[in-house]
Amino acid sequence: MKKAPSLILASAFLLGSMATLTACEKPDYVLKVCNWAEYIDEGGKDGYDYEMTGERAAPIYKRFTEWYKEQTGLNVKVEYSTFETNEELYNKMTLGDTYDLVCPSDYMIMKMAAEGMLETYDSSFYDESVESNYYAKNLSSYIDSVFSAKEIGSKKLSDYAAGYMWGTTGLIYNPEIVSEADLSTWAVLSNPKYKNKVTSKDNIRDSYFAALAIHYEDELKKLAADYQSGALTYAQYNVKITELMNDTSDKTIAAAEKILMNIKDNIYSFETDNGKEDFMTGKVTVNFCWSGDGIYVIDQLEEEDVFVNYCIPDTASNLWFDGWVMPKGANKEISQAFVNFLSMPENAIRNTYYIGYSSVLAGDEMFDYMTDTYGVDEGDEVELEYDVSYFFGEGLVIGTYADQAKRQLFAQYPTEETLARLAIMDYYEPEANNKLNNMWTNIKG
């Protein structure tokens, strides 16, 4: 009878779980949300609430149920799942998985929209006079202008997507070891001076982008000079850069392949996630990273009294963002409510705190949070008035330490003058995409 106790336990457990199942009333709707892994406040010990109050909170997507019930009386359960790459999400969706709300990146949003896979947001979603339209009320005017300027067919990007997080791509480096002049262009990736001391990204998009910036270095420098001299306006300059950085002509792809081969020989590794670790342990001295990862690394090293910087090369860089889109067949009303729930100031701060990336949302609360995080400590003298007015609104600056101009704050919110040289990645037609994939296969061999 050795097995008896475990049997009793097992049946007790089964009965117990059945009891909880029956106790839980049947939801009126199950909202299926698919997001990047670790890309939402999961509550618990790493959550903002624990930091502030010492109490562990539930993940934000579970809190939605409660909030929505208060608003409408409907019992909506959120079925939350995650994905690792944009392509994986796209494959899931084309193979028949259904979702109400997913969070792909810039080029994938455009691809999905162009292929007719997405619902559009209601115009009432952007009505700022409605109390519960937190997204519309808090959206940064800068992101708003980017989303309204981008056209997809006859519609705008903002019709299809509500922004979530945004940032740039750049390089983190230790200024005591690496000369900043070397980092003014992306050519640092193939610079023999940094043989085996620099990493690139193990995905075709980011690596191709860097290769293009090297290929078009002279053109990009000339454009920059024209912009400086006033021959080009901000908009003209930005459009030209975006065109160059999305070039997929055969000639360019062939040139990029050569450049990427050189990069492969020169870099330490193509990495997805290991680069942070390799940089922190000193194996590499320059790490090609997304701004959010850069902030994470800078924070981590700061605790060890090592002070590293984040920079955006002078030629061009990528403006990336992830946004909530509704696949065809989604429940628009609840999905939009979910986006608004995430956009409530306290929730936006929770997410920003948890993820460490920059939210597309501005608003007083977010500004105060950023000031608290990056502003000078009480009693210290303000060394730098960091201008974030383009993002948070007229006249707003964060009084901070001088080095923040190259560190976390710069990674969170690049200076206004860098914005002009940030290009958004377009989606590519299947034919060009295939060529690029084949090129990448050649690189990765």
């Binding site: 494959n91 590794s269 194996k283 299947p430 034919e431 295939n434």
Partner: protein, 277 residues
């Protein structure tokens, strides 16, 4: 009608498993391998029968180079595993120590540790020594090292079970007839352990051609093997090209099993230690 239970019905669960998870997926792979999407203005409108994937596989220099590299890595891993595993298996099988306990401790316990964890641990170790990503040579060296580390038990166990079953009186007879110890080993033990060697090789060779976790982590993403190529294709929605490569591996597997007599129906099967796996 009354239900009659017979032993045959015990096979039903496996038959269902076989159809759902082996036959149907294999059919899908073959289907994709020999088709191509028909595109019109960038939108897929249908599919067509095509040999393009096959032609591409054998004409694309990158893929050919990649296959050559995979085979080389697979061969190296297999040979090194064999050279290390044979003496170990031999000593274990011949020793008087309480074999099972030792065997279990030495080879099974490390295998309980999660595979990705072990590879990552090895990675840290190599990086501490300073050879991780040091140069192309070290990238390849580390990849093969990781493969050997990973697949060694799969070589030792079949060898061990085969060697254990060899009746010692054969060797004694050879010695009585005047053979020296090395000659007796060479002429008697080695040929008799052939089935174990064969199943060890099949257990190691193909998996080490495709285990891209090892090559990605320990080769710093610079050593491409056919496994990573297949993954890449599927990630990029190139289903057809990816399926063709997967099909090629299936064919290689089939041919190698056939060549080494894996489909023979004799009583050899009972002496083949490989059945352990």
């Amino acid at each position: 009608m009354k239900f009659h239970f017979s032993r045959k019905q015990l096979c039903i669960p496996y038959a269902v498993f076989l159809v759902c998870f082996v036959l149907i997926p294999m059919f899908i792979i073959v289907f994709y391998a020999f088709t191509a999407p028909v595109m019109e203005n960038g939108v897929q409108v249908g599919i067509t029968f095509s040999f393009d994937n096959l032609v591409d596989l054998f004409t694309n220099p990158t893929k050919l180079l990649n296959m050559g590299r995979s085979i080389l890595i697979g061969l190296l891993t297999t040979v090194i595993c064999l050279l290390i595993a044979y003496p170990v298996a031999y000593i274990l099988a011949r020793s008087g120590i309480r074999r099972n306990a030792v065997l279990l401790l030495l080879f099974i316990v490390p295998m309980w540790v999660n595979f990705v964890l072990r590879v990552n641990a090895l990675k840290e170790l190599l990086s501490w020594i300073g050879i991780l990503g040091a140069s192309d040579f070290w990238n390849y060296f580390n990849t093969v090292l990781g493969m050997v580390y990973d697949f060694l038990p799969f070589m030792i166990l079949p060898l061990y079970t085969t060697l254990l079953k060899i009746d010692n009186s054969y060797v004694e007879a050879a010695k009585d007839l005047g053979a020296s110890a090395p000659v007796a080993f060479w002429k008697v033990t080695l040929p008799l352990s052939y089935p174990g060697i064969v199943s060890g090789i099949t257990m190691v060779f193909l998996p080490s051609m495709t285990n891209y976790v090892v090559s990605t982590l320990l080769g710093n993403g610079k050593v491409g093997i056919i496994g990573s190529l297949i993954e890449q294709s599927f990630l990029n929605s190139q289903w057809n090209a990816g399926s063709m490569m997967a099909l090629l591996l299936l064919v290689v597997m089939f041919v190698s099993t056939w060549l080494t007599g894996g489909f023979q129906n004799e009583d050899a099967a009972s002496s083949r230690g490989g059945n352990l796996w």
